[in-house]
């Protein structure tokens, strides 16, 4: 290693420790760059060690000058606080990648804690950003509530609308024909198992070719006796999607004109995508392989 290189690396590592990774990343020569990174890692490790030893004997240690790292930490705290207050831009505008991701991680952590706190004590105010304009979900939800009262269950927290199954066929028609929404395209039907103790769910992703907007609708149904009205005659692709969901979850779509299995053979037993599915022992005398060791 030439002297120049060594000098460069030293400089870059020093800068990186001070929080400026650009210098390292901008080193053109691959070999030098990787060496510099290695040196950086080493330096960081040593710094950690020393701080650990320092914390053991706090009395003797002189007041440590607030390092660049500490500054960053406080900055992150600040940003997270802002984000929790609804201003995500503060995070997204951070230029340095690493800091940004750290901040995001911190945000997620903070949110989780906030949620936990909300569960334990109801007095804690919900930290939720309230958009100025009504989102599409809210609009759709309001429209449904107006037209089909008491068919909504739950709110649209995660960007979906939770519905009761009873009136689904009419709601589907309404959503498809309403000029404000015009959901003329059923993108996807996803069957869903909410867990062994819970219900089954079907999720519909609707999309409008005209307005170019999309929503997600979720309908829960009893695990023991899963039944949901079919929308096959609203969106023709519902035919095959519903058959597929039936095939995998055993959810019966009432009103479907050909409710048969589509991917699996007609005489297959059980509903494979249920979480408690056990494959049948034999199928027409062929042993169904179940030992996972072979392939997992």
């Amino acid at each position: 290693m030439s002297d120049e290189q060594a000098k460069l690396i030293q400089e870059a590592v020093a800068k990186a420790l001070a929080g400026d990774m650009d210098m390292i990343n901008n080193i053109e020569d691959r070999v030098t760059r990787s060496k510099a990174k290695a040196a950086l890692v080493k330096a960081k490790r040593e710094a950690k060690k020393s701080s650990a030893t320092e914390s053991e004997k706090p009395t003797s240690a002189p007041p440590v000058k607030p390092s660049a790292g500490d500054e960053k930490l406080s900055f992150i705290d600040e940003v997270v606080a802002k984000a929790l207050a609804g201003d995500m831009d503060a995070i997204n505008n951070i230029e340095d990648r690493i800091t940004r991701s750290k901040a995001k991680a911190a945000l997620v952590k903070a949110k989780r804690e906030a949620k936990k706190a909300a569960v334990t004590s109801e007095e804690t105010p919900q930290v939720e950003s309230i958009p100025a304009e009504k989102s599409l979900n809210q609009k759709v939800a309001e429209a449904i509530e107006k037209k089909f009262p008491s068919s909504l269950t739950g709110d649209d927290v995660d960007g979906h609308i939770q519905l009761k199954g009873d009136d689904w066929f009419n709601i589907a028609h309404y959503l498809k024909d309403n000029p404000d929404f015009l959901f003329d395209s059923l993108q996807c039907i996803t069957g869903f198992d909410l867990g062994l103790e819970n219900d089954l769910e079907v999720r519909y992703n609707l999309h409008s070719m005209t307005h170019n907007h999309a929503i997600e609708i979720r309908i829960q149904t009893d695990r023991k006796n899963p039944k949901i009205p079919s929308v096959e005659q609203v969106w023709r692709i519902g035919d095959w999607f519903e058959r597929e969901t039936y095939d995998m979850y055993g959810i019966i779509f009432e009103g479907h004109r050909n409710m048969t299995r589509i991917l699996l053979p007609d005489d297959w037993e059980g509903w494979p995508l249920l979480k408690d599915y056990e494959a049948q022992e034999t199928y027409h005398g062929i042993v169904v392989p179940k030992v996972k060791e072979g392939w997992e």
Partner: protein, 372 residues
């Protein structure tokens, strides 16, 4: 004069048949040459993709997506990676985005070449098929240089790529495009404007736009029906908004809008657009480290995402639900070929035997993706 009614004969086209593009079975009721009813029967290639995904980690899903649409594996990788990245709120470096666009558009070329070639084969033209395979081979060779695999690449990872471009790969791509662009004229000469080919495909299997939308038909099939809809423009993802390209739609040049010829020709025009995109992307390719943003461990936060991307066959959607563990809680793939095939029963009834196979060919299905 009385009308003679014969009995309908039930005929199974497939599962082993030369032009079912895999193991598809069409149960048709025929009255002589006229097909009065078509019912696609699928599931012969079902490999439990979704069940597998619930048992492997997010990284391990990628090879499975390869095997769904084995003709356009890059696009499948791409769609999956984009979906998981959205779930994780992960941003990838610019170089990665550019390379992703380049390889997925190259794969689109390869996929369209196969689609058009086999469509030609379905109507009895053998030579164009081999011409197109000759050129598809070059793309596969490029991919082989890139990642060692010819069909199942496992190249686009969540947060990055498995390899950077090898040295001089950009020039190879440009060389290929320079060679390939004039070939399109050759295809047009031997197949597109062939009188017999037009006779066989124009006005055949007309798919009206509203039927297409109701059946969830997407991609070139929808555009062939005259609907200007392309996710790369209308619900843009990755860096597609940076590129300048058009969305070709069917215009009914030789027949009706939405006939087999339109679906064929839209693909032909799309190849030109893909070439444009690749040229721009190669020109703008920035430097950088493609492994920079690769997460050590993929552990998306709780939540769900439904992300669609434009695969050569249409809207390829991934619905992913994460419960915070490294294994997807539920992964559903909305495959474009699945919806495209479902429209068969609607548009293929009433045509003749040869037309049914032409219509099937024009829909460009891949059974691996339909059955998953």
């Amino acid at each position: 004069m009385g009308v003679v009614h014969g009995d309908l004969m039930t005929l199974n086209i497939g599962p082993q048949h030369p032009s079912t593009h895999g193991v598809l079975r069409l149960r048709v009721k025929t009255d002589g040459e006229i097909i009065s009813e078509v019912e696609p029967v699928i599931g012969y290639l079902h490999r439990c993709f979704e069940k597998h995904c619930e048992n492997v980690t997010y990284e391990q899903v990628i090879p499975y997506t390869d095997r769904c649409d084995y003709i356009a594996a890059m696009n499948n990788n791409f769609g999956y990676a984009v979906a998981v990245e959205e779930l994780m709120d992960l941003h990838v470096p610019d170089r990665v985005e550019h390379i992703r666009v380049i390889v997925s558009e190259l794969n689109r070329l390869a996929s369209h070449l196969l689609a058009l070639g086999t469509f030609g084969l379905d109507v009895g033209a053998f030579t164009p098929f081999l011409y197109m395979f000759r050129d598809r081979e070059r793309i596969l060779d490029l991919f082989e240089v890139l990642c060692g695999a010819r069909l199942l690449y496992n190249y686009i990872w969540v947060g990055g790529l498995s390899h950077d471009f090898p040295k001089g790969f950009e020039e190879k791509i440009i060389d290929f495009l320079d060679y390939f662009e004039p070939q399109l004229d050759e295809y047009n000469g031997i197949l597109t404007y062939n009188k017999i080919f037009i006779e066989r495909t124009a006005d055949v299997g007309v798919l009206p736009a509203e039927v297409a939308i109701s059946y969830g038909v997407t991609g070139p099939n929808l555009r062939g029906s005259g609907v200007k809809w392309d996710l790369r423009k209308d619900d843009t993802y990755s860096i597609y908004e940076q590129f300048d390209f058009n969305i070709p739609v069917g215009t009914g040049t030789v027949g009706t809008v939405g006939d087999c010829w339109d679906r064929y020709y839209v693909r032909m025009l799309e190849m030109t657009e893909s070439i444009k995109i690749i040229r721009q992307a190669v020109k703008a390719l920035p430097s950088g480290d493609v492994h920079q943003a690769l997460p050590k461990k993929i552990r998306p936060p709780k939540g769900s995402v439904y992300k669609r991307t434009e695969s050569p066959r249409g809207d390829l959607g991934y619905y992913i639900e994460s419960d915070g563990s490294p294994v997807p809680y539920r992964l559903k793939m909305r495959s474009p070929a699945f919806t495209a095939l479902s429209v068969m029963g609607e548009i293929a009834s009433g045509w003749m035997m040869s037309d049914v196979l032409a219509i099937l060919g024009s829909l460009d299905i891949v059974l691996g993706e339909i059955d998953r």
